[in-house]
Amino acid sequence: MPKIIKVKQLDLYYNQFQALKSVNMDVDNNNIIGLIGPSGCGKSTLLRTLNRMNDLIEGVKIKGEILLDGVNIYSSQMEIYELRKRVGMVFQRPNPFPLSIFENVSFGLKVERFTDKKKTAEIVEKSLQAAWLWDDLKDKLNESAIKLPLYQQQLLCIARLLAVEPEVILMDEPCSALDPIATMKVEELMLELKKEYHIVIVTHNMQQAARISDLCGYMLLGEMIEFGKTSDIFTNPRDKRTQDYITGRYG
């Protein structure tokens, strides 16, 4: 699955404020990429540029390129709906729709006007299985999704993404609302999903980045200070600023 996102010399401004400065990053080879850095460093902004979520914010200006399979996602060649289908996002707080479990997972198919009921049921089952929810929820498919415990809601949001077969999954602090056991389940799921999908995760939990990511980027004041193998970043970072941050000497 050699699909690639290539971020090239990316600058992003919120009006006069420059939130990203000449950022470069590649997403490929089924790696989980972890983005770490202090609050306000630009990691969530970078994540949200990858499927143009920042378009919704007034005053945002972008320079540079983000290529998905060689096509600039900010060019007219890229349909935004198509982009968000291919590059899906999981948010900090689970955000299931106030619908049944089945309707949540099949929501994307409905938007695509997919009408084959048998096939839809198959995709829902496959997506719930992939998100490790099928065994727990197969008898409750018509129950309300918002009554599920938080971690199952988060897994359901992942299942909802999987149903539309994305290539890249973006995760913005997906475990920050979860307890350690639920966090472990989500992390294990991510390690399983990476066999099929590219994953980029923003996390404030450095141990989480260390545990699950293959590549890691440390950001500070809008710059990508260091980007490399997670094992190198956490044992022998090249840049003193990275070293100071991950050893807690920052600030």
Binding site: M206, I233, F234, T235, N236, T242, Q243, I246, T247, G248
Partner: protein
Amino acid sequence: MDRHFFDELESLKEILLKMGAIAENMVNVTIKALVEHDSKVLAELSGNESKLNHLQVEIDEYCLKLNALHQPTASDLRFLFGVIKINSELERVGDHAVNIGRSILKILDGKQLKPFVDMPQMVDIVNAMFKESLHAFVNLNVDKARNILYRDDQVDKLRYKIIQELTELMKKDPATIEYAINLILIANKFEKIADHATNIAEVVIFVAQGKDVRHHFSDPL
């Protein structure tokens, strides 16, 4: 990571240096006994060995606790890893000093066959290497550590020369065998101490720079 953790690392370093000082003292005692033919000084070795053994366990437990509670990364992680390794090296140095002491007692019982020439030179180098390996660790001084690595070969050559001479001596006069074997054992143990100093120097380079220079595979000397 909080200030408390950095204070803990300093405390750990102090305990390791205390252990280093004891091991250094044990090496000095054996050299004094050998060079000055003074067996009395050897009496303190066994008490010091026991202290080293206790400190080894204490340091390992401390490192385990800090790893579990603080999950250190980068330079802090390398430091803890280095302390665990140096801890073992120091304990082994203590064991060698005790064994050297035993062999010295045997040779001091007999008549000296010939004046020592290469042995004092070798033990001087070993002593300096060991002392400097500990100094290199205190300040994470990579230049000093590298210098130690270069000197290990000198010790190997002197040990080889000592063994050659003693082998010749034994061939000529079988009555010298027991004495010569004990001297060879002493030379071998000092050479081992030089190896431990070399290992400590390699750990210092790893802790300071994250480079693994063991066996010269990632950074040829």
